[in-house]
Point group: C2
Chain length 399, copies 2
């Protein structure tokens, strides 16, 4: 029997996936599970998106342009303009989800063995994509005490080697919910200029910035236009995760010409998703206002409630729909498994994501969990009750 | 300005893409172009596919399972059973087109620097995917004289080194239209067993086998179940190229477990395409009978007509919707460009794919073109007329 590749052997399995069998077993026993473990929102996809697909009048479902439909890219330019991001259609490649945007960007920018500095905790699938592209992630630690603010630039500089080729951020952040300030981004700008690095920025949560704080895109930073690559997706924006429509955007012509070759090899992005996403650009502002209001109210509820539990600390995030909480526990992986395997409160329990999976540094995040506040308030209330009870009973509690 | 990767620099651009600017210029001059250069069929997508999407009743367009919807995979098992391919849902991963199936299979099976033997001429995008996965393609030449039959096994053995990890075929073949016989596949089976290689088989044209010839899948070969990986797509089957739905299939559990990790990293395949593809499994047989009849009539017309042109030789293919013709010309790349740039006949011309792009061996296929017979008979007739006239006038003709 031929052997699978080393890459395949080393390919990380997401920390949440490991919990799935325990969740399945709990469900079988009749336990209701509140899923705060994944970023699948319960928010309805805008009717404009869904109706455009339902009303599509296709006879032959053809390949689209490898960079995506021209009409969609044109309209997207208008969408980005509303965020003061000025681009033309040649500076966009539509991808199969944000995932493919990351993959193409990595293949375009990085050689085998090149190093990319990423503030941790970070979106766990960056590990898989860097493994596939044979790129080395150099994690730089951010801490819960500061709400996961950008680490000092001096710490970045300590990590820079001749192999360092880029910096990658997620803003607003998954899993932290942290929104980088203008000052933080300007500091990154200086660093990128000084060492001539690529700056990849995953900004798929741009619609979810709270408390009147300003969203600053890497595309707003002057003088590093050739360094910057924006990675995007409609999954969260329109609660359309299944559409598999993302985008890779850059003003660096050499990057976009090369990226297009990768895009051409895989032919085209999904046609139906493009039709929906194009129509969704006209989604009325009220939709986003409603959604934002809902998320803010959920966040406020979770933050207020969880911080009242003895020994818990959870900074209030300004973006996305995640927060990371520090719990009075010995080990988040064990705790999250215990919640599914051993615990229930009135036949209910809660599924959380152990934060360890979002850190690269071994041992980091050992007493932290990520909470995705993607459920309605009633469910969130019950989930928080479960968590409070669980923290009273968990054998590995530390307070 | 940071430099793009070596991979990005070396990433091949498809030979057809190079012709696009010349085609655009010709169109601007008012010349009508008959596109025989790409495998985008004009056949209508079955209504079952399109209607399932139009009638979908989605409120939240969620991620699907990373391996694809269970209901779709279940139904697919029935589809494959009708071809005597017996699999269960755990042996299928739904992918974003056949393209992603190839990418995941390569990453799962091959290490950086591993060698894969592929009969040439082959589908040009294999080059891009192997470049991305850092896999070395070792081409083995098949020849137009035999209609591109499988090269002798002794020739394969000459190419085998300690780095050889797999063999990859396309059956029925793009760009050759060749359908491998049971004997040819059994010979490959022996080879695969002898050297313990992976056997990847791209069988996306299975619905298009002609003249009563038997379609034999690598999945039918006994005793190499752990070596075999089937790569598939609904793009050609249902004329649904834009759906971006493919599949990677294997009975090798280790392969599928690893492949699923790559699939999980990118979250899920497109939801709408899966809905259409699932419904399309019920497409009545009459649809395929009609489509097949149409393709056979087109093929017969092209083969008969083209072989009457002095100096042209075009073997009659038994599958897919391509054929490769040898023309009395000095250089197929120059000729195909000349057709667009300099030639027209009654303000019409024809766009062909130079076969050089399908060969890895430099100089191979220099006087060959690939013809995709994806147009209706009237257009095909006019296209053949153009070609005949062009071969009279082309300055680089050799007869």
């Amino acid at each position: 029997m031929p052997k699978i590749s080393n890459k395949a052997n080393l390919m990380p399995s997401s920390p949440i996936r490991k919990l799935v069998p325990f969740a399945d077993a709990a469900k079988k026993k009749g336990t209701k599970i509140y899923h705060l473990n994944i970023g699948q929102p319960d928010i309805e996809t805008p009717p404009s998106f869904l109706n455009a697909v339902k009303n599509s009048n296709i006879k032959v479902l053809e390949y689209s342009h490898s960079a995506g439909n021209e009409s969609y890219r044109k309209k997207l330019c208008g969408y980005y303009k509303s965020y003061d991001i000025l681009i033309d259609t040649s500076e966009i490649i539509i991808t199969c989800g944000g995932s493919e945007a990351i993959q193409i960007a990595m293949n375009t920018c990085f050689n085998s063995g090149d190093e990319v500095i990423i503030p941790e905790p970070f979106y766990a699938n960056y590990n898989g994509f860097s493994m596939t592209a044979d790129v080395i992630i150099k994690p730089i630690r951010s801490y819960i005490d500061t709400g996961f603010a950008l680490p000092p630039i001096s710490e970045f500089e300590k990590l820079i080697t001749p192999k360092t080729k880029g910096i990658m951020i997620c803003n607003p952040g998954n899993p932290t919910g942290y929104l980088y300030s203008k000052d933080e981004l300007n500091a990154l700008r200086e660093l990128v200029l000084k060492y001539d690095l690529f700056l990849l920025s995953d900004e798929v949560y741009r619609e979810f910035c709270y408390d009147g704080k300003e969203y600053v895109s890497v595309m707003h930073l002057k003088g590093i236009e050739s360094n910057v690559i924006l990675l995007d997706s409609v999954s969260k924006r329109y609660s359309a995760c299944g559409a598999r429509i993302g985008a890779m955007i850059s003003k660096n012509k050499e990057v976009m010409t090369a990226a297009l070759k990768f895009a051409q090899a895989r032919l085209s992005p999904p046609s139906y998703g493009q039709i929906g996403a194009e129509a969704a650009i006209d989604t009325p502002k009220t939709y986003f206002e409603e959604v934002k209001k809902e998320y803010i109210s959920r966040r406020d509820f979770v933050i207020e409630t969880i911080n009242k539990i003895p020994g818990v600390f959870c900074p209030k995030p300004s973006g996305a729909f995640y927060c990371i909480a520090q719990l009075p526990i010995d080990n988040a992986d064990k705790f999250c498994q215990w919640l599914l395997e051993e615990f229930n409160f009135n036949n209910e329990t809660v599924m959380l994501a152990p934060a360890t999976g979002f850190y690269s540094t071994p041992g980091a995040g050992i007493n932290e969990v990520r909470i995705a506040y993607v459920l309605n308030k009633t469910d969130l209330k019950n989930a928080m009750l479960c968590l409070e009870e669980a923290l009273k009973k968990y054998p590995g509690k530390t307070n």
